[in-house]
């Protein structure tokens, strides 16, 4: 088996340059690559374009990269809950492409799957359709959306092996599997890294072919945005 392991987050992100296109898994703060975000904060880079469903909160997740002005553009579907983000956006320091969530997920999926474009009903008749090709299929209108691919994708999984195979837990899976495939170089951080052969091949969510670097992360905070409980 090809061994994909690197020592830690710092080594994994050491060659990520300024002005590159970066995908980051996660929905809200669930399933985000906490270790790599911390390691990126130590790098002297800026001008990043980040594809991520959300933009973190003010003091956690991608919010930390925004605060350090490392981000030029966000490609996301929902960016509430982040005052610094809103400030940079309204002042024109930050560019944002807001994309319907299903379209974002499918554009990333298409990028990893080698499908350059597809048609979706989401956004027909709205400002999202501006400048896009519209076609009628079987009496309904659809608009053409292009694939999304990145120089690097950074994902977070529950378990992984040295061959790069990944298993996710709960709703922390979200955008991670599609992003793994859509990055030229995919970095996977996992809570538990085991030797190739220890994971059940029947249970693998993301096959190792998509993953170029893998390491076991440390000190996961797994912050909760909306702690709701029943009594």
């Amino acid at each position: 088996m090809i061994n994909k392991t690197v020592k830690n987050a710092a080594e994994a992100v050491a060659d990520i340059p300024s002005h590159c296109m970066l995908m980051m898994g996660g929905f809200g703060l669930s399933g985000i690559p906490e270790n790599c975000i911390q390691a990126l904060l130590e790098r002297p880079i800026s001008g990043l374009t980040i594809v991520s469903n959300n933009a973190g909160v003010d003091d956690f997740g991608i919010g930390l990269l925004l605060k350090k002005r490392m981000v030029k553009k966000m490609i996301s579907s929902y960016v509430g809950e982040n005052a610094e983000f809103e400030r940079q956006l309204l002042s024109g320091e930050l560019e944002v492409d807001l994309i319907p969530q299903g379209t974002l997920a499918e554009r990333v999926r298409a990028g990893g799957a080698g499908i350059p474009a597809f048609f979706t009903p989401a956004g027909v008749g709205t400002e999202v359709a501006t400048g896009k090709e519209i076609r009628e299929f079987d009496g309904k209108l659809y608009l053409m959306e292009r694939w999304l691919r990145a120089d690097f994708s950074i994902v977070k999984a529950w378990k992984g092996d040295t061959a790069g195979n990944l298993i996710f837990k709960g709703t922390a899976r979200n955008f991670n599997p599609m992003m793994a495939a859509a990055g030229k170089i995919c970095i996977a951080e996992v809570e538990e890294l085991v030797e190739a052969g220890e994971l059940d091949p029947n249970q693998i969510h993301t096959p190792g072919i998509y993953v170029q670097r893998i390491f076991q992360g440390v000190n996961y905070e797994k912050r909760i945005e909306q702690r709701t409980v029943s009594h």
Binding site: F27, S77, T126
Partner: protein, 219 residues
């Protein structure tokens, strides 16, 4: 006038046995509390879960298990987890029977606006555009008027549109209305103590009123 809980309770009456349902953030989330225990339905969360259960007890809180509103949740027996591309494949593919979501404005031909207030609110559409473009049945939970008394049921939406000609039914704090295939809000039920005249005066779009309009019930 209905409270938010009463709007949710009235919408819960629309739920049918065997349905897969997506509930939006806000009042729609409350609908789950009022769905009859005699019905077998499955709630979808667009980040990647079929089978949303109640909020967890304190000792069962799991940061890796949240709904689309980022709230901690549980899973019911028989749940399934999947990635977000798969999740929207089941939404666009028409496998989700019922979508319930909030709105800032609805027009008389069923257009909905709920994602952006230019110059004020830049949060994004999340999954709303995919949901309204695809669901077979869309019910909107909303306040009939804005805080300053302006009708939100209009001839045409003034805010940026989320989807066109998609809303089937509205449950507001004043009334239950259906969108006519030919355009117009068909008044079906009144909130307790609210007159047809009040609803008519607070609906800026075309309102269609035929015969006696019953007061709504909740059971």
């Amino acid at each position: 006038m209905l409270t938010k809980e009463q709007i949710a309770k009235r919408i819960a009456k629309e739920v049918k046995n065997g349905q897969y349902i997506n509930l939006g953030i806000g009042i729609p989330t409350l609908v789950a509390n009022y769905i009859s225990k005699n019905l077998d339905v499955v709630l979808q969360s667009e980040n990647g879960l079929l089978g949303i259960g109640p909020f967890p007890t304190e000792d069962k809180v799991d940061p890796d298990l949240i709904n689309a509103g980022k709230q901690t949740i549980t899973m019911v027996p028989g749940s399934a987890l999947f990635n977000s591309a798969e999740s929207f494949a089941m939404i666009r593919g028409g496998h989700v029977h019922l979508t319930i979501l909030g709105a800032m404005e609805v027009s008389e031909n069923g257009d909905i606006a709920n994602w952006k207030i230019p110059g004020k609110m830049v949060k994004g559409m999340g999954g709303a555009m995919d949901l309204v473009a695809s669901a077979k049945n869309i019910i909107v939970a909303m306040q009939h008027c804005s805080k300053d008394g302006q009708s939100k049921l209009l001839a045409e939406c003034t805010l940026p549109i989320t989807g066109i000609k998609c809303v089937k039914k509205i449950v507001s704090d004043l009334a239950v209305l259906e969108i006519s295939p030919n355009g117009g809000f068909i008044l079906k039920e009144r909130a307790p103590g609210v007159s047809v005249e009040e609803i008519r005066s607070k609906t800026a779009g075309k309102i269609l009123i035929e015969g006696e309009i019953p007061e709504m019930t909740f059971e």
